[in-house]
């Protein structure tokens, strides 16, 4: 009941391969699954596991992230004993105002780590969309007497050549090897950028690592700890499918996967609601002529045309005769009469003109940037 686990979310990922989607926003602020941003899942995972104290390390482009999380109210993360701490890069006139990576970010936010009262801390990067019960992970960590527990998945889609971090595990689940960005991964266990450990230990390790001139959390610090053999690192396998959001195509696939009932169920259970910023939209209006199949449709839409195999965010208008197939349409976009779009990602507030036609392949979906009219 009393909190013994704090949370920390790092949002400083490099996002070049997400192209237009992350030009003006951080990865964590990326809209997903019809009414969320990626951070909503990261935060809700923590809150639903009883974590009442979460720090969010901001890097750059965080206006949309600030706007989304506001006071933390939607996640019950406002208050005195509980709460959300925003950790913007500490800018003095002469500093460079950006973190070299997670380790650097942790080092710069030692104050947050020190000030907390919780015994354990769970740290999540924001490159995966996943559902995780931290209370189970903490139990696993304690049951196994681990020093550090890393969350991983055996999911094949999460395993990517040339990028990613992979864990070698023995039969007891102890991490024996850590591979970083191998051209050909040797292990099938993909680390999802989520770890849990004693808070004091993390402080110690970060302190030592940075004083030794290390820069990378996984590549150097974890690998070195492992090599020295003093640290027991356990692997905790995720029991649901996570999605690695590193490219436009991966982003597209993750959203489309939510059309499958099993995947949807893994993200949305009534006891563990995913909280997000409210818009107070009315329910979606379907006209007499609308035809919608196999799609997610959020509140506040007006659907007069046809929608198939798509994810429709809040406040989208699809006019008569318009046809949408295999698309992700972000909030407040307007698809005018007779327009036809297929396999596209429409960012927020885009407008597709009357009778305009756009068609791509699912393997390489088009991205229409925010606010554009085409």
């Amino acid at each position: 009941m009393k909190k013994n686990l704090a949370g920390l979310i790092y949002t400083g990922e490099k996002t070049d391969r997400l192209r237009e989607l992350t030009v003006m926003r951080s990865l964590a602020a990326l809209p997903v699954l019809g009414r969320y941003r990626l951070i909503d899942f990261l935060l809700s995972n923590m809150v639903n596991s009883g974590i009442k104290n979460v720090g969010i390390i901001l890097q750059s482009n965080y206006n949309s992230l600030l706007d989304q999380i506001g006071s933390g109210r939607e996640w019950d993360l406002h208050g005195k004993r509980s709460g959300m701490t925003l950790l913007p890069p500490f800018a003095t006139t002469d500093s460079s105002n950006s973190y070299a990576g997670l380790l650097d970010a942790l080092k710069s936010n030692m104050n947050f780590l020190r000030r907390n009262e919780e015994r354990y801390i769970a740290v999540s990067e924001s490159s995966f969309l996943y559902s995780l019960h931290y209370e189970d992970m903490l139990k696993f960590h304690l049951d196994n007497n681990a020093d550090i527990t890393l969350a991983y998945t055996k999911d094949r889609d999460a395993r990517r050549h040339g990028s990613g971090r992979y864990l070698g595990l023995d039969d007891a689940g102890v991490v024996t090897h850590i591979e970083v960005d191998p051209s050909l991964p040797r292990y099938g266990n993909t680390y999802i950028g989520v770890f849990l450990m004693r808070r004091e230990l993390l402080i110690d390790m970060v302190d030592r690592a940075t004083s030794q001139g290390l820069h990378h959390f996984t590549r150097e610090m974890l690998v070195k700890s492992l090599a020295q053999g003093y640290t027991k690192i356990m692997g905790y396998e995720l029991d649901s499918k996570p999605f690695y959001i590193d490219t436009v195509e991966a982003y597209y696939k993750a959203n489309m996967a939510a059309l499958e009932p099993e995947i949807r169920k893994s993200f949305f259970t009534p006891e563990r609601p995913v909280w997000t910023k409210l818009r107070d939209e009315m329910p979606t209006q379907y006209s007499g002529e609308s035809k919608v199949n196999n799609s997610l449709v959020a509140d506040g839409c007006i659907i007069e045309g046809e929608v198939e195999d798509s994810v429709i965010f809040r406040g989208v208008t699809v006019r008569e005769g318009a046809k949408i197939k295999g698309c992700i349409v972000m909030q407040d976009s307007i698809i005018a009469k007779g327009a036809q779009i297929e396999n596209c990602i429409l960012d927020k507030q885009t407008t597709v003109r009357e009778n305009a036609k756009l068609s791509a392949t699912p393997g390489y979906p088009f991205v229409i940037p925010k606010n554009l009219t085409i």
Partner: protein, 390 residues
């Protein structure tokens, strides 16, 4: 002690609301779901928020728990402030024993101390069973301009319906000269909407006088307003011409839901400048399945629709299985309709389950109502006009 407020709102959340039958057996009327994601009380309370009124007292003595839980800290309506808020006000005891609310006026009388805390110039009195969007600040400005004791919002109803309403007869300047409760032969078609602005000082003394009158019913319509008129207080009518619907009966509740499906709907809930706020329950987007056929309907988030849905309002968390058919119906949050079931002109309460092949209601017939948390067994038939459930 608290910060002075120009105007405080008092919402008469009412008694059991027996005309809504089974739907209010375990729920106060203002907490009844409406329009797919709202509850009735969201309308007057959001109107307050949007009108800049930030102190709202909710007067109720009937099952306030659900209302209390729904209202919570007032966050959804921006009413969780240091200097204001929304308060559920049941009767209470000042010494050995307390007194239940005897009438609408008495409920305000018993909470005079609450109102006095804010030292307001005006008090807005509202009802908890009307669906409408109204800028109370304009009505208040009219009240101030007219230097009235009371301003009563009226709307013009068809002459043939005047016998169902409280009718305000006014002179050419809009000053009320006479109030007739449900007149057989009305002299005007200005019907009271149950929305009043009072100058607090005046209302306060009238409430005290009314309380001391042993023959009074302690009711606004029957006592306070007629007494004010007879004492030559200035009462003015404020004409409202927007959408307004009393949802105090099964038929009107159904009808008001159906109004949202008209093209264009007579009440615009898309309006960004006049949002109707509601408590959020964190549901995912709605899913519309491969075989779903939705037409002319409202469908809220958290729903999973795989059957046929026509001219209906589906609330959050509603599940419609493949092969189910729903026509001209209202499904409240969490209701489930199984394969082969057919609904026509039905209202289905929260978390109820219509099992496979059950038949509820009929086309062009009276509304059939299923209560909350009710299971209608497989193949069972519920006739039009029937209420079934817990």
């Amino acid at each position: 002690m608290l910060q002075k407020k120009q105007c405080v709102a008092m919402l008469l959340a009412g008694g059991q609301g027996s005309r809504l039958g089974i739907l209010t057996r375990h729920t106060a009327k203002p907490a009844i779901p409406f329009g797919g994601k709202y509850r009735i009380i969201d309308f007057p309370v959001s109107n307050c928020t949007n009108s800049g009124i930030d102190v709202v007292g909710v007067l109720t003595q009937y099952r306030p728990l659900e209302l209390n839980a729904y209202i919570g800290s007032g966050t959804p309506w921006d009413l969780d402030k240091n200097t204001g808020g929304i308060f559920v006000l049941p009767p209470y005891s000042t010494g050995k024993d307390g007194e239940w609310y005897k009438g609408t006026a008495n409920s305000i009388y018993q909470n005079m101390t609450f109102i006095d805390q804010y030292n307001p110039d005006y008090v807005l009195v509202l009802s908890g069973d009307h669906i409408y969007k109204m800028d109370y600040s304009e009505m208040l400005a009219y009240h101030i301009e007219q230097e009235a004791t009371a301003t009563i919002a009226v709307r013009q109803v068809p002459w043939e319906e005047t016998h169902r309403f409280g009718i305000m007869n006014t002179d050419a300047n809009g000053v009320i000269t006479e109030f007739e409760e449900k007149p057989a032969n009305a002299k005007s078609n200005n019907a009271s909407m149950g929305v009043y602005v009072f100058t607090w000082e005046k209302l306060r003394s009238h409430l005290i006088a009314d309380e001391n009158d042993p023959n009074s019913n302690n009711d606004f319509g029957r006592n306070i307003i007629p007494n004010m008129l007879s004492q030559n207080e200035k009462l003015v009518a404020y004409t409202f011409d927007g959408y307004w619907m009393d949802v105090g009966t099964i038929d009107s509740l159904w009808e008001a839901n159906m109004d949202l499906l008209k093209d264009p709907p007579p009440i615009n809930l898309h309006d960004r400048k006049w949002r109707i706020y509601a408590r959020n329950v964190g549901r995912p987007p709605g899913y519309v399945g491969e075989k779903a056929k939705i037409s002319n309907s409202l469908v809220a988030e958290g729903s999973d629709v795989n059957g046929v849905v026509e001219n209906s309002v589906l609330s959050g968390g509603v599940v419609v299985e493949e092969g189910a058919e729903i026509y001209d119906s209202v499904l409240m949050p969490g209701a489930k309709v199984c394969s082969g079931a057919v609904l026509n002109r039905a209202i289905v309460g929260e978390n109820s389950v219509i099992e496979a092949d059950a038949v509820i209601g009929e086309k062009d017939a009276e509304i059939a109502v299923i209560g909350n948390n009710t299971v209608i067994p497989q193949g069972h038939k519920v006739a039009p006009g029937v209420q079934e459930g817990k």
